[in-house]
Symmetry: C2
Subunit: 299 residues, 2 copies
């Protein structure tokens, strides 16, 4: 099986209670593909600027991720500057440069158009749809989003939701998008818009799966220190989608199992800034923590 | 087996986004005993004032709860007036009258001194210890607390923690008591003070169990409407302790199972003000939701 993911590749400036990092490797598609690579063959579709360091590309290539769909633009790389509050559950965006995405025409190379699993990581819903339209016969479509698109591209976002089999978003986004504070009600209302599964990410509180078959709640991995949450949601989605692509089991039970892989990927991401922990992560460590997490959530 | 619980019996005035209720039945020991009664024989130790309605006593007696340890005082009943914020995760205390507890000497009737499970629901740590000292040979001691005692009776509270087998508190209290934001670290540091198990309640996000055998995360029951959270934590603890008393299985696995019963009891409590939902609750409904919750948290 094979997986492609489209989304942002970024240079992040991060401020957390534990310190600061300037213009480090980030982006929704970067984290997503990296996490998925622990489970399946992953390819990335995106755009980087003239200023993007080759070193970061090698991080992705080191995991066997295909960059055939990664375009180089003369504009500056997408950048985001965020500051986390003391408890790290909230953050402020201090600066964002989205100019590289303006007018960017998503192109999926023909060799990638037959991917089994198509993942629409965070980027504009219109660009998510542009990517999906070039894929020939995806078996499973996973889509993510963020608050910005809920605010400014709501209609296109609903088209993405309708076209996805599994739609994933965080708790605040679920409340904002559905205008309902209750996450079960919010999830069920999104389910009515088309997807077979809705997953609500809750950070340190784990995630909720909502499907016609029922609901499932999974706790986060019991980490004793969270260093930087940036990218955790993308790693979660990447581990989840990668697991589904690997097993091909798209049943409710199969998605519940996949949540374990997503939760595991996210837990490593938050242990350090950027890809600092992830780039040292081995398959053996990944599998050991997956087993430990299973114990943590099993009666 | 048999269970006694000591703590507050109250008249609550509640304001939530869904409405207001004045001087309705409440109290930590009331909710605790009521929830436990779905699982085992429960007895209540506490004090009420001259103004406490008999009608509320009948609610407890209707579940077979022994009130032999409930004292009547000439003072006014303990009362609490709380107002919940829009999302109901936070609340302000507008008024509290603790005068009935001043100088109250906890007395455990001799017929109750041989209880197998001794539960110290929320009241002053000194009064919790006074109750415990009168119990002859408890098999299992469960203790709960609240922020007030962390602030004003910290040393006595640590004595309670040392004397308990299972200590239970909510996430904010765990952070406040241990001065650590990470709930796993907070739980482990409390474990070092004596209890075999620490349970951290997280409201709509479920609960964490921390033990030397490992950790376990359970999600809340997926309710579509939360009406009033008052008493949910006490019902959670009561269902948990009641289940342990019923089965007698005090192993890590046994406590994990007991968390299901606690979560189930809490889920009914929040469906209406005060005991409005609980007093209509049947054993059959309790068991049906327990089974549904098991599905919601099982891979």
């Amino acid at each position: 099986m094979s997986l492609i993911v489209g989304g942002s590749v970024a240079l992040d400036t991060l401020e957390t209670p534990h310190g600061r990092a300037d213009r480090v490797f980030g982006g929704s598609a970067s984290y997503f593909a990296y996490a998925a690579s622990f489970l399946t063959k992953a390819s990335l579709v995106g755009v980087i600027g003239h200023d993007f360091p080759d070193e970061y590309l090698k991080v992705l290539e080191g995991r066997g991720i295909s960059l055939a769909g990664l375009e180089r633009s003369p504009k500056p790389t997408f950048s985001w500057h965020g500051k986390y509050h003391e408890n790290m559950n909230n953050r402020d965006t201090l600066h964002v440069d989205l100019s590289i995405f303006e007018g960017w025409q998503v192109k999926v190379p023909s060799v990638l158009q037959n991917a089994d699993t198509v993942c629409l990581a965070n980027m504009s819903p219109k660009q998510q749809l542009m990517l999906l339209q070039q894929c020939k016969n995806p078996r499973f479509v996973v889509a993510d989003t963020m608050n910005l698109w809920i605010e400014i591209e709501r209609d296109a976002l609903f088209d993405v939701i309708r076209a996805s089999h599994l739609f994933i978003l965080n708790d605040e986004e679920a409340r904002q998008l559905t205008e309902n504070d209750n996450l079960i009600v919010a999830g069920k209302s999104l389910l009515k818009r088309g997807p077979r599964y809705v997953v609500v990410k809750k950070g340190e509180h784990g995630a909720l799966l909502i499907a016609k078959e029922g609901t499932y709640s999974i706790g986060a991995y019991p980490l004793e220190k969270v260093f930087d949450p940036t990218g955790a949601g993308d790693c979660f989605a990447g581990g989840l989608a990668g697991y589904l692509d690997k097993t091909g089991d798209l049943s409710f039970k199969g998605v519940k199992e996949a949540l374990l892989a997503g939760t595991t990927a996210a837990s490593f991401c938050v242990e350090d800034f950027s890809f600092h922990r992830l780039r040292k992560l081995t398959d053996q460590e990944f599998n050991a923590r997956l087993a430990a997490l299973r114990t943590h959530v099993t009666l």
